[in-house]
Symmetry: C2
Subunit: 392 residues, 2 copies
Amino acid sequence: MIPVEEALARVLALAMPLPAEDVPLAEAAGRVMLGSAIAARAQPPFAASAMDGYAMAATDARPGARLRVVGTAQAGARFAAAVAPGVAVRIFTGAPMPQGTDHVVIQEDVEVSGDTITLRAVGNTNVRPMGADFAAGARLDGPRRLRPADLALLAAMNVPHVRAARRPEVAFIATGDELVMPGATPGPDQIVASNLFALRAMAEAEGARTRLLPIARDTLDSLDTVLELAEGADVVVTIGGASVGDHDLVAQAVRARGFAPAFWKIAMRPGKPLMAGRLNEALMLGLPGNPVSAIVCGHLFLLPALRALQGLRDVAPRPVAARLGRAVAENGPRAHYMRARLVPGDPLPVATPFDSQDSALLGLLAEAGALLIRPPHAPALAEGAEVACLPL
Amino acid sequence: MIPVEEALARVLALAMPLPAEDVPLAEAAGRVMLGSAIAARAQPPFAASAMDGYAMAATDARPGARLRVVGTAQAGARFAAAVAPGVAVRIFTGAPMPQGTDHVVIQEDVEVSGDTITLRAVGNTNVRPMGADFAAGARLDGPRRLRPADLALLAAMNVPHVRAARRPEVAFIATGDELVMPGATPGPDQIVASNLFALRAMAEAEGARTRLLPIARDTLDSLDTVLELAEGADVVVTIGGASVGDHDLVAQAVRARGFAPAFWKIAMRPGKPLMAGRLNEALMLGLPGNPVSAIVCGHLFLLPALRALQGLRDVAPRPVAARLGRAVAENGPRAHYMRARLVPGDPLPVATPFDSQDSALLGLLAEAGALLIRPPHAPALAEGAEVACLPL
């Protein structure tokens, strides 16, 4: 048995970063930017008013001063002439500061009479210096998963395209004579394929495109036919194969396609041997068929692999702290990922593991907000103890 | 000035839930399921083996017992005959328990000799009772944003379609003569439109479809032309209009299309008056043009509105607890949403507000992991004090 961390390292060693491609900014949300984006210009590109008011020379900004208003500066339409001492320009937020001015008195502090203003107060400068946000040539560095604020920043930098890792394409193959797709009428011995829908949604949320392939039956022919449909995918994920011994048929089928499967027995619950390797150009993962085991393995191995394929570093799942909602017993030699209810708490959320940790129970998994991590040989803990959780 | 909470309540009062539609399960990730999904059958639909091993009558499960193996039960292919005492059936995980059996001895506890097994130990029952996960008729209740595990559960329930709120369609209109789209060459007085890219990505992550409309210039004609392109959207979001006084032209333009705009001065920083109301069939929000203000208002008002349109309850942003990474001064009368760096901490993450809280700084917003919430009149706090944050 190898620890979870070692299994993850082995999976990541198989995940070769995908090539970069040009992505229009409007389609770049959630993509992993590679390299650096460079600001084409400073922001603001000129000293700009931060308020609606009146621009003037700072030397004129004295309470009681009277100034003649000689024009207007709007965002997008500057006041083109130079401004002499003793006069002011009506100015709006974002407008370039007219030449000769370096102070804005906000409109609330001004009394207007015809084309003359009298300053009641002068306040702050209210000027945003050129480049206050960023200078020309400023960089946003990758690898970086682009969040909404990043898109706004890149737009302001006038970066219309970014270099981003190609989205990994993941082919999902559920295997087993016992499976039918939702909407079909299962025979008396059959059940409905379920976990591939969860794994697919998880992969897509991580930036992947997915192929939901037909269910492979428990014959080499059927598996081979479906594996052929997976060609060209960056990641091939098989689920199950346990009806004839763990992965036995799946391993035979991929071996016939040039793959040397590696199995690792991982010191974790729920979980089983994970099959992994490279199938020609693809990373291949063979997940257990038990629904909860497959989904937990998806969180621990598939999602980090998808992050690594997209060029991200620091791809391991990130636990958050919580307090135990009930006592837990000492743990055995395998890391236990307990399904737990997670409710807000002050200051830490409260994680309460379910009574049943049967890895077949999807109903409980759907109610679970987190996987409570119990490291190997962790001691018994009382209610209220601090624990680490993976939010689901 | 009205508190943020009251402004949110007023926005939500304008957000009429959208009608439901049928969505295939394979496309339902992230959608808000309405009503209840009902399990078409129990899971498991039969008592099933939880392990690979040998099925027998519990009365035969004694260490040292020798049993003849009379057949095989696989997932998807049961052993069809009744099993008499004294014999066993080879069984694999997920296979229906043969008639007459109620105990599975795992293969590791069995010695095999030809078609006879000798039990070294007997262990647990290793049987999953029919309906252990859920009974026929079990429900998953909406409104509920469907997470990956929900999809697996719905699949197992054999629910191929769900009723889900239609995805709201949001039209974004940036306004201002000073704006150009990324990739264009800005004039000397112009800047690049930025915040609509952030707002759009935020809305899409919340389940919306979006229209990125052309920039409206500061004329009624231009605004009217772009507003016409927004027709049919469920939400119309304008950004800016401040170059000629807050929202002045935008308000005139929408009034001409039958809208009575309401403005609220909200007791918050950053932020400005929010314009809101119903524009014919649409919810309309007029956000400030300042990039950070617009994005913060998007988090506080637009995203909750999108949740409400999709039928969710409890839609307000959910703060999380953090510890202050540096002291903060007493707050004034307006709630302050301070941009802060958020780093993991034990047990609470550490939120450190930036020195500059200038609402024009997109560079800092992109570095911010959270908005640190300072309620009106909050007292000064020392480093290490517990605060509430909205993760970004």
